[in-house]
Point group: C2
Chain length 203, copies 2
């Protein structure tokens, strides 16, 4: 698994052989089966995880059983409950494998050691936080200003690969739109597309 | 103005006199009248601003003229368009004074100088980013999982001071709820409160 991570991260920043050896030494590999949890609600998040293969979701379960998906992480992306990890407080979220998933994890204390030993990795992590913050701001803007149809379209455009791999109710959960609304939006789109195709073929 | 900032920041972290002198030297003061803009859409965000007195809002104007409020910043809080500031790209937002507002601003290049000269200020800024990210995550969870009534209640509880200072349509804009829905929620709450009060007085 580590070779995959090495290929990915060296395509972004350069590291010495010794630095990569250190990163490997302080990491651990985990294999999750579909539906297996990497983090349970109520536990403290102790790891930062990099997805090598598969798909994870972070979600909050409401008292009535409904699931609200905060994030998906597929190949070459990171997953963490930052609030729980930073403050070492019980998580309000679950992190679960949507497919069989391979991850590399770094425990918190090892990560701190790495940041001191490998400044380039600290810089990379800071840039990751900056990008995550920008993405969060964009998602908030989408949440408060887009119609259900615009949200659905934005998801397909932004995450075409994830869209193909998950059922529609997970898209609805991520967007904060009811399943009924999303089905309506989808049927209207399919109908419009059919009319368009019919128009094209009549030419 | 700077004395106010000094009192605030030294209550969080300690700085030497020389460090504070440097922070002052690299800053500038600005006075905004109500409705005056600190940042126009299309401009590059060149400053990080600290609010000494008054209230700012960051919003995006859609083509149809509707305003979507991303953030409020009252006394002792910071305002910036981070994406524009970090990448030096044109902003998609406006930052506007909701009341007459006094701010202290640090231009980008001065801030970089400060981070090197005053490591405690860099650490403080990093912690600010971490907290902003946590708050963004919580807002996303609220956006996708709360009912309009829960969102409204959460706003009052989280920002009681700002709630008192802004008209209801700005609350609606921040929450991503239509004015009509928010009016309905508010009337239902007032009615319930009245019934509760009547019940109390009948005892």
């Amino acid at each position: 698994m580590f070779e995959h991570f090495e290929t990915h991260i060296t395509s972004i920043t350069s590291f010495t052989k010794e630095e990569l050896r250190r990163m490997r030494l302080l990491s651990a590999e985990k294999k999750l089966r579909r539906r297996q949890l990497l983090l349970h609600e109520g536990e403290v998040c102790r790891y930062k995880a990099f997805v090598v293969k598969g798909l994870l979701k972070t979600y909050r379960k409401k008292d009535d059983g409904t699931e609200h998906i905060m994030k998906f992480a597929a190949e070459n992306s990171w997953m963490i409950d930052a609030e729980s990890f930073n403050n070492q407080t019980p998580s309000r979220y679950n992190i679960e494998a949507v497919e069989d998933t391979d991850v590399i994890v770094w425990p918190r204390e090892n990560l701190h050691e790495l940041f001191t030993a490998v400044p380039a990795f600290k810089l990379y992590s800071e840039q990751l936080i900056t990008r995550t913050l920008e993405a969060s701001q964009n998602r908030i803007l989408m949440n408060i200003s887009y119609t259900a149809e615009e949200k659905y379209q934005d998801f397909i455009t932004s995450f075409p690969d994830i869209f193909r791999r998950i059922p529609l109710h997970m898209v609805a959960s991520y967007l904060g739109v009811s399943r009924e609304t999303l089905s309506r939006v989808r049927h209207a789109q399919i109908k419009r597309q059919k009319n368009l195709d019919a128009g094209e073929s009549r030419r």
